[in-house]
């Protein structure tokens, strides 16, 4: 049952101009193309909020797509739209973050786990004690509050680790770098930095101001992964947060359309941690490093078992019919 091009798939995404999300959309396109089952992708991709995403989802329903793959602006906020889609016979798959609508399928990065894994590694590196600079994402974003849960969980396991300072970077590079530099200037002692994925500018800041290179946790962005093997004296770990989850979402949607429903509504893709403190981690980092990618793109451009496109395909960022 794989006659070329049977389905139209709608995609809804509400953050634009961020490397991670761009990779996600490209993965969706590449996967749709590689699967050979999709005639057309219908992509609604802009900066907006839950209400705007509801609008996009309803427009996709009007466009009579067969499935909708959505990165939700908010787990609960788009419930009504997803419900309407299911009622209209459309398969709904949420990627990256969960949704509360029970009829929707979810394939997501485990955000809580993401933070827990990195924080735990960091606290171990610090020898179970000391001060940590906690650089969060955007205040009020659901991914940020999920990650905060994971971070707090790890923190609870290490009673001697204290948060020296907590800031919101807004997931903005310049703000994060300025915050780091200001923090350095205060002379507050600290033994580690946890970042919510704005990582390479933090390493830059440490290097530029000739501050002691404390362990840094970041995400698997190409820039940071490169730094982990190139910056001398830097100890750090990249926690995977693949944008290619978008491709996996398309695969899941196609499976369901083809009648192969997963056992559970929710499929979690657990993050991995690659550190440069162990040989094993170094090997993984080396394998993953890809200086040709834009530094904002996560290097894990594929998810084994879920994506079937080639690197060329995702980099070309072309969907079916383009």
């Amino acid at each position: 049952s794989s006659a070329a091009g049977k389905y139209t798939i709608g995609i809804s995404n509400t953050v634009q101009g961020n490397g991670w999300r761009e990779e996600m959309v490209c993965a969706m396109k590449a996967q749709a193309l590689a699967s050979g089952e999709v005639t057309k992708l219908n992509i609604a991709h802009r900066n907006t909020d839950a209400a705007g995403q509801l609008e996009d989802i309803r427009n996709l329903i009007s466009a009579k797509v067969d499935a909708i793959v959505v990165n939700p602006a908010d787990p609960a906020g788009i419930k009504a739209g997803l419900e309407e889609a299911t009622k209209a016979g459309i398969v709904v798959v949420a990627v990256d973050q969960a949704v509360t609508e029970p009829s929707a399928y979810i394939i997501s990065n485990n955000q809580e786990q993401y933070a827990y894994l990195g924080a735990k590694w960091l606290f171990q590196q610090m020898g179970g004690k000391g001060e940590v600079f906690y650089m969060r994402g955007a205040a009020g974003a659901s991914a940020d509050s999920d990650r905060d849960k994971g971070f707090k969980k790890a923190l609870a396991e290490f009673p001697d680790v204290k948060v020296a300072q907590e800031v919101f970077t807004g997931w903005q590079q310049d703000q994060a770098k300025q915050q780091m530099l200001s923090f350095l200037a205060t002379g507050t002692p600290f033994n580690g930095v946890w970042t919510s994925g704005i990582d390479n500018v933090i390493v830059d800041a440490l290097v530029e101001s000739q501050a002691p290179l404390v362990p840094v946790v970041g995400a698997d962005n190409a820039g940071f992964v490169g730094q982990l093997s190139s910056v001398k004296g830097l100890v750090g770990a990249a926690v995977t947060n693949p944008g290619s989850i978008g491709g996996a979402g398309v695969t899941l949607a196609l499976q369901i359309l083809d009648g192969k429903k997963p056992a559970q509504q929710t499929v979690l893709v657990d993050p991995q941690l690659w550190d440069n403190a162990t040989e094993e981690g170094k090997a993984k980092l080396k394998a993953a490093a890809d200086p040709s990618l834009s530094p904002e793109w996560p290097v894990s451009i594929m998810i084994p078992g879920w994506t079937t496109y080639t690197k060329d395909q995702i980099v070309a960022c072309k969907g079916p019919g383009e």
Partner: protein, 328 residues
């Protein structure tokens, strides 16, 4: 109305100080800046050191240049909201083109969209009389879209920050940020242009009374087009400097600077209605905002409270400044 008799009383000291400051609006601004720095030092003793000053200046410079764009456009009663997009575009294009191209070629390519957007803004505002807010907002939307389309074509080639830009953006020589090498002449040029050139005169005059300038033989569209191109080129240069500072090209690199750049110009005493203001105040305004950001980062309080405080302080500073400078 009081019925006091008119006695030419000696001018009280407070009033004299006020008048002194009103004549030199830069002084109260600098005092405000110093107060902020003192508060910072009290909160975190030792923070105000050479390194901190260098860092503050480094971050204030891109903001100050963009605020210069706002100052000049605001003098004519306009505003340039496309500076963020323009700076981002030139930074992104520079970083991606320099991988395969000669740096000089990459530079030219990077400045192209800046000139183009400035030209379109200028024509829209100057010839078609579209409100600058809308015009520059529109072109920045278009620019962002174009950048995103472009972005896909260069993913495979990656990005690189030219060493020179990194040196300029982050380097420090004898305690002075290298960026001053670019900024001091640039700021001097802006100040000079506004005060001592025909073009500067026209900016003030056009913002004050456009009909009067027309009757004096000024072609509005020429002034406005030149202005918006200048503004865009400055924004493009800021983008290059900024990418050297941040060293991570992204598709929204300089967007966060747009609203602060407007705020810096206003805090610095430039009227958004045109005809009034200058660049020296803007420079101090940019420094005030940068110090304020640090101050708020240092404070241990919930993010919400931090933002509330930021808003209140910006309001307070502007109001206090106006109070001091207005001599009515």
């Amino acid at each position: 109305m009081s019925s006091t008799a008119i006695t030419p009383a000696p001018v009280p000291l407070g009033r004299r100080i006020k008048r002194f400051m009103a004549d030199r609006p830069l002084i109260p601004l600098i005092i405000l800046l110093v107060i902020l720095v003192v508060i910072l030092q009290l909160l975190r003793p030792g923070i105000v050191n050479e390194r901190w000053i260098a860092n503050t200046i480094k971050f204030a410079i891109p903001l100050a240049i963009l605020a210069g764009c706002q100052t000049m456009t605001m003098l004519t009663g306009g505003i340039d909201l496309s500076v963020g997009t323009v700076a981002t575009m030139s930074a992104f294009i520079m970083a991606t083109q320099v991988v395969n191209q000669d740096p000089a070629v990459a530079f030219l390519l990077a400045m192209m969209p800046a000139v183009l957007i400035g030209l379109v803004n200028g024509i829209g505002v100057g010839v078609f009389r579209v409100h600058p807010l809308i015009m520059t907002l529109g072109t920045s939307l278009i620019g962002t879209g174009c950048l995103q389309v472009y972005q896909r074509t260069v993913i495979a080639s990656g990005a690189k920050i030219p060493d020179f830009l990194a040196w300029l953006g982050t380097g420090v020589t004898w305690g002075f940020p290298n960026a001053l090498l670019l900024y001091v002449p640039l700021a001097g040029l802006i100040v000079f242009t506004l005060a001592r050139t025909g073009f500067g005169r026209l900016l003030y005059a056009v913002g004050d009374n456009e009909r009067a300038t027309r009757l004096s033989g000024v072609r509005y569209w020429q002034v406005i087009t030149a202005l918006y191109i200048t503004s865009s080129v400055l924004a493009g240069i800021t983008g290059l400097l900024y990418i050297g500072l941040i060293k991570a090209p992204s598709l929204s690199l300089a967007e966060p600077l747009v609203l602060p750049s407007v705020a810096a110009a206003v805090i610095g005493g430039t009227s958004i209605f045109g005809g009034r203001g200058g660049y020296t105040g803007t420079i101090v305004g940019a420094l005030i905002l940068t110090v304020l950001t640090t101050l708020l980062t240092i404070l241990q309080m919930p993010e919400g409270a931090r933002r509330i405080l930021f808003g209140l302080i910006v309001l307070f500073v502007t109001a206090a400044y106006l109070r001091i400078v207005e001599d009515k």
